[in-house]
C-alpha cells in the first residue's frame, strides 16, 4: 500500500489550515523553533516551555502582552531561570493570528481556555504606544501566575489590629479578631495586608498526613511567626527582621488529619511569610504559603571556572567587570592573574587565586559581565599609565608557555611590556625603544585605593604623585617594577 499520497493530502489539509490562520500551524511556523513543536521548550534552554506552564494559564493578558510587545530579562518558568529576549510579534501577527496561537498554547496542558481575538485587540489598543519590552516582574504584578490550591484544608485567616509598640509575639487566643475570612486557596498568604503595619494574623487549617513518619516544617517571615501542629509549637521565627531567616522544626505525625496553626506579627515596614513541609508521602517540599520559602544558602552555583593547565598560562577575552571592553585576561600557573586593557595600554587588574568564572558570558546569550573569582582584586589603573601621551596598542607576543609580552606605542616610543609572575606577585619589565634621549612619565599605579600592594622599582624612586620619571637614552631602555600582592 502506498501511504505517501495520503500523507501529502494530510499536508495539503494543513497548508489549507495555515491559509485559514489555524493556531497549530501558526504555532509551528512562528513559535516552535524556539519553544519546541509540542511546547516543551527549546534545546539547551533556548526558550522556556509553554506546555503545562503557569505563564500560559489564568489571565490571558499576560501572554497577549508577551506576544505583542516582547519580553526581556529574568523570569522563572517551571522552576528554571531564564534570561532571554522574546522578540515582539505585534507588528508581524494580527489579532486573530495571535488569538489562534495562544488558544493553541492553552491547549498544551494549560487548561484549554480559548483566547479571543477581541481580547487581543483590546490589549493591543490599550498599549498602542508601547514600544518597550515587558519585564517579567512587571507582568506578574499585573497578572500574577495562578496558584494551584494549596494543601491546607478549611483554612481560616484571622486579623488582629495591634498597638504600635507591639514588637513581640502575644497570645492571640486572648484577643478578639477584628476580621476573619475563609481561604479557599489553601495557602497562607498576606493578600490585602502586605502594605500594612502593626497587625497580627493567625491561620488555622488542616493537613492530611498520609504516612507515619518524621516531618520537617520550614518557616520564614517578616517579622515574627510561629507554626503549631495540634497546638504544639514546631518552629518559630523570633525577633524583628526581614525574610531570609528561615527556620526548620521537626514533628513526628501519624496518618490522618492534623490541625495547623500559624501565628504572625508585623511591626513596621516590609511584610512576608512563607512556610513549607516535607516528609513521608510528600514529593520533595510542598509549599504551605503563596510565597515560596527561599533557601538561605545563596548564591546559585553556575560556574564555568577557567584555570591554567600544566605550565601554560590561560587566556580569556570577554566583557569583564571592572575594566574596559577590550582587555586581555591572563591566568598564570601558580595563581597570579592579571587583566591588561588594550584601550589604554594599562595593567588594570591584578590578583592572586582563582582566575575567572566565564559562566555569565558563556551561558545563554551572555548578558552579565565576567568577574574574577577572588574577593581581593587590585584595581591598579584608571585611565592611561602614560599621562598626556598618545598611545596605540599593537599586539601580544606569546612565549612557549603562552605568557604574553604586550607591544604598544607611546608617542613615538616603542614599548614592550612583560609581566612575569613570581611567588610574590609580578615583576613587570618595560623595554622602551627610543630614537633619542628623552624622558617618559609612567604611572604603574594610578588609582587611589590599592591597599596591601607593594610597589618597588630597581634604581627609580616614585615622585610625590606616585609617578616615575623614566630617563631614556637612544636605543633600548629597560625598567623593572615589582608588584607585591601577597
Amino acid at each position: 500500500m502506498n501511504l505517501i499520497p495520503l500523507l501529502f493530502s494530510a499536508l495539503a489539509l494543513f497548508t489549507l489550515t495555515a491559509n485559514g490562520q489555524g493556531g497549530p500551524v501558526l504555532y509551528q511556523t512562528y513559535c516552535s523553533a524556539c519553544h519546541g513543536t509540542q511546547g516543551q521548550g527549546g534545546a539547551e534552554g533556548a526558550a522556556p516551555p509553554l506546555a503545562k506552564s503557569l505563564w500560559a494559564q489564568g489571565d490571558p493578558d499576560r501572554m497577549i502582552k508577551v506576544v505583542l510587545h516582547g519580553l526581556m530579562g529574568e523570569i522563572e518558568v517551571l522552576g528554571k531561570e531564564y534570561n532571554l529576549v522574546m522578540p515582539p510579534q505585534g507588528a508581524v501577527l494580527n489579532d486573530g493570528q495571535i488569538a489562534a496561537i495562544l488558544t493553541h498554547v492553552r491547549s498544551l496542558g494549560n487548561g484549554g481556555e480559548k483566547v479571543s481575538t477581541d481580547r487581543v485587540a483590546a490589549v493591543r489598543a490599550k498599549y498602542e504606544e508601547r514600544e518597550a519590552y515587558w519585564k517579567g516582574d512587571e507582568l506578574l504584578k499585573d497578572h500574577p501566575l495562578p496558584s494551584p490550591p494549596g494543601p491546607l484544608k478549611n483554612l481560616v485567616r484571622k486579623f488582629y489590629a495591634l498597638p504600635k509598640d507591639q514588637r513581640s509575639m502575644l497570645d492571640y487566643a486572648k484577643l478578639e479578631a477584628n476580621a476573619s475570612s475563609r481561604q479557599p486557596n489553601g495557602l497562607i498568604n498576606l493578600e490585602g495586608y502586605s502594605e500594612k503595619d502593626h497587625f497580627g494574623l493567625v491561620w488555622e487549617g488542616e493537613l492530611n498526613v498520609r504516612r507515619e513518619g518524621q516531618f520537617s516544617f520550614t518557616l520564614d517571615s517578616d517579622d515574627l511567626s510561629a507554626l503549631y501542629i495540634d497546638d504544639k509549637k514546631v518552629v518559630e521565627v523570633s525577633g524583628l527582621g526581614g525574610m531570609g531567616r528561615a527556620k526548620t522544626g521537626k514533628a513526628t505525625l501519624h496518618p490522618g488529619v492534623v490541625k495547623v496553626r500559624v501565628e504572625y506579627l508585623e511591626f513596621t515596614g516590609f511584610t512576608g511569610i512563607a512556610a513549607s513541609w516535607s516528609g513521608s508521602g510528600i514529593r520533595g517540599t510542598q509549599s504551605l504559603s503563596s510565597t515560596k520559602v527561599v533557601s538561605n544558602q545563596k548564591p546559585k552555583i553556575n560556574l564555568i571556572e577557567l584555570k591554567p593547565e600544566g605550565n601554560r598560562a590561560v587566556h580569556y577575552r570577554n566583557f569583564i567587570a571592572g575594566t574596559g571592553n577590550r582587555s586581555f585576561s591572563v591566568g598564570y600557573p601558580g595563581g597570579v592573574n592579571l587583566v591588561f586593557n588594550q584601550e589604554n595600554c594599562g595593567l588594570e587588574l591584578l590578583w592572586h587565586g582563582r582566575f575567572f568564572d566565564a559562566g555569565p558570558r558563556w551561558k545563554n546569550r551572555g548578558t552579565v559581565r565576567s568577574f574574577p573569582l577572588s574577593a581581593q582584586v587590585y584595581h591598579l589603573q584608571k585611565g592611561s599609565p602614560f599621562p598626556g601621551q598618545a598611545f596605540s596598542f599593537k599586539g601580544m607576543e606569546l612565549d612557549e608557555r603562552s605568557y604574553p609580552t604586550f607591544h604598544y606605542h607611546v608617542g613615538n616610543l616603542t614599548v614592550r611590556d612583560r609581566p612575569e609572575p613570581n611567588d610574590k606577585g609580578i615583576v613587570r619589565t618595560l623595554s622602551i625603544e627610543s630614537e633619542g634621549a628623552s624622558e617618559l612619565v609612567f604611572a604603574p599605579i594610578n588609582s587611589q585605593s590599592v591597599r596591601g600592594l607593594n610597589l618597588a622599582s630597581r634604581g627609580l624612586t616614585a615622585r610625590q604623585d606616585g609617578t616615575f620619571l623614566l630617563p631614556l637614552d637612544k636605543g633600548d631602555n629597560s625598567f623593572t617594577f615589582h608588584y607585591g600582592i601577597q
Binding site: L7, A10, L11, F14, G22, P24, Y27, Q28, Y30, S32, A33, C34, H35, T37, Q38, G42, A43, E44, A46, A47, G70, L84, P87, P88, Q89, G90, A91, V92, L93, N94, H104, S107, L108, G112, E131, V314, H315, Y316, R317, N318, F319, N325, R326, F328, S329, Q342, W362, K363, R365, G366, R369, F393, K394, G395, M396, E397, L398, D399, E400, S402
Partner: protein, 496 residues
Amino acid sequence: MNRFFPIFLFPVLLLGAVTAWANKFNNEALDQEMSRYYLREEIPMPKDVVFEPGSIALLPEQRIAVGTRRGEVWICEGAYGDDLSKVSWTPYFEGLHEPLGMYWQDGALYYTDREQVGRMVDRNGDDRPDWVETISAPWGLTGNYHEYAFGTTPDPQGNVFVTLCLTGSFNAQAQWRGWVMKIAADGTATPYASGVRSPGGIGYDAEGNLYYTDNQGVWNGTSCLKHVVEKKFTGCPIGNVYYKDAPNMGPQPPDPINQSRIVKERERIPELVPPAVQFPHGVVGQSPTAVIPDHTAGKFGPFAGQLLVGEQTHSEVQRVFLETVNGVRQGAVWEFLSGFEAGIVPMRLSDGGTLFIGGTTRGWGSRGNKPFTFERVRWKNVVPFETKTMEALPDGFRLTFTEPVDPVTAGDLASYQAKAWTYIYQKKYGSPMVDHVDANITSARVAPDGLSVELTVSPLTKGHVHHLQSAGVKSKSGQPLWHPDAYYTLNEIPNP
C-alpha cells in the same frame, strides 16, 4: 490523578499532534530527498569541548581552523577525508572574543571578533600563535551581548569588511554600531555603509559584490540579504547618528518615514539600497546568517555562481540567484539544504566542493536540537531537478532549469501560481505581509531545448516579493521540482 480527561480538548490535541507530525514528516521527506543529491555528514568535534562554531577558515593542506563562540580556535585535520573517524583536532588558541569571521592568508590566521580585526601568527611551527596582533579596533562597545561583529575574507585590495550589530539590536550608543566598516590591510578604518540592524553574516557573491544578512526587527519587516554599496544606506536609520563622524559618506540621508514602504522611501532617500532578496519570515527561515558564493564551477552541483545563505533558526541553507536590473541588485531565494543538527552560523565552501558548516543553538533556538555541530555537505553528482535561475522580464519572469522540462506540464498555466506582497517599513519590530496582490500567469513559453520557460505575469508589482510556485512542472523524466517555491524580490522591473 485527573480522573476526567478533558474530552473537549481531544480534537485540538489531535490537530496539534497531527500538524506537528505532518511538519515532521514534511521535513523528513525533504531530508530524504536531499540525500539523493547531497551527502550531509557530522564531523567529529574535539572531545569534551563546548565547541559552538562561530567562524571557519580553510587552511592550506586541507586543514581547517574553527573559531568558537567561547573564543577558542581549533585546527582540524582529516575533515576532507573519506573516513571521518580519522579526524583530529589541535587546540591553537583560547583568547579571542567570539570570533565571527576568520580566514587564512600568508601564514597568518586573520579574525574578526567582538573587539577587533586581528591576526595570529605561528612563527615557530608549534601550532600555537606566538604573535597576536590587533590590526584595527575602530568601533565602540558597551559590553552588551548583542554587540556582534561579523567580518569578511579580504577583497582583492586586501580590505576586510565588518558589519556591526546595534547595541541590544536596538540602539547605537556605541560608535559605528549599525554600520559596515572597511578595514584596510594597514588597519585604516573607513565607514563604508550605514543602515545595519542585526546581522548574521557577511560575504561576497561570485562577482565580488558585498552582502550581509540582516534579521527581521526594527526597520526590517522580514529578514533579508542586503547589498552593501559604498556610501549607501541599507535601511535601518538608528546608526545614522554617526554620519557626523563620517565625512567620506557625504551628508546624512533623511530618516525614512515610519510605516511607509521601501519602494516609496527609495524615492525620498537616494542613498537607500533596497534589500536584494527578502526572505519571508517563517517561510524561508527566520534568522539568516553566513553568505558565501558557490565558486566551485560545478563541483557543488548545478548552481555555480549562486549564493548560499545559512539559516540559524531553521537549521537550513538557502540558495540565492541574483541579477542587476536598472542598476539594482535583486533576485530570488529557494530553500536548499536542510536537516542540520543545530542553528547554522558559519559556512565555508572548499575549492573542491565540500561545504563546511558550523552550528550553535545557545541563546537562540533552532530546529536542529543539538547544542552545537560541525558538518560537511558534498554533492553526489546527481543533478536535482530544480529551478536554477529566475530572472525578471518586463512582463514576467524567465525560469531556467537544471534539466530539460516536460514541455506539456511546463507549458500548462495551471502548473504555476503567483502571489505578491510586501512589508511595512517601520520602527516597530518586523512586519506582517501586506499589500497582497494576486498575480495572473497569462502565458508560459517553453524554450525548444526545454531548459527555460518564459512566464508572462500580470501584474508585476515594483517593490513586492513575488512568490512563484511551480508545483505542476515536471522534468522530461517526470520528476517534480525538489523545491517548487521561489521568492523573487522585484525592486526594479526591467525596461521593455
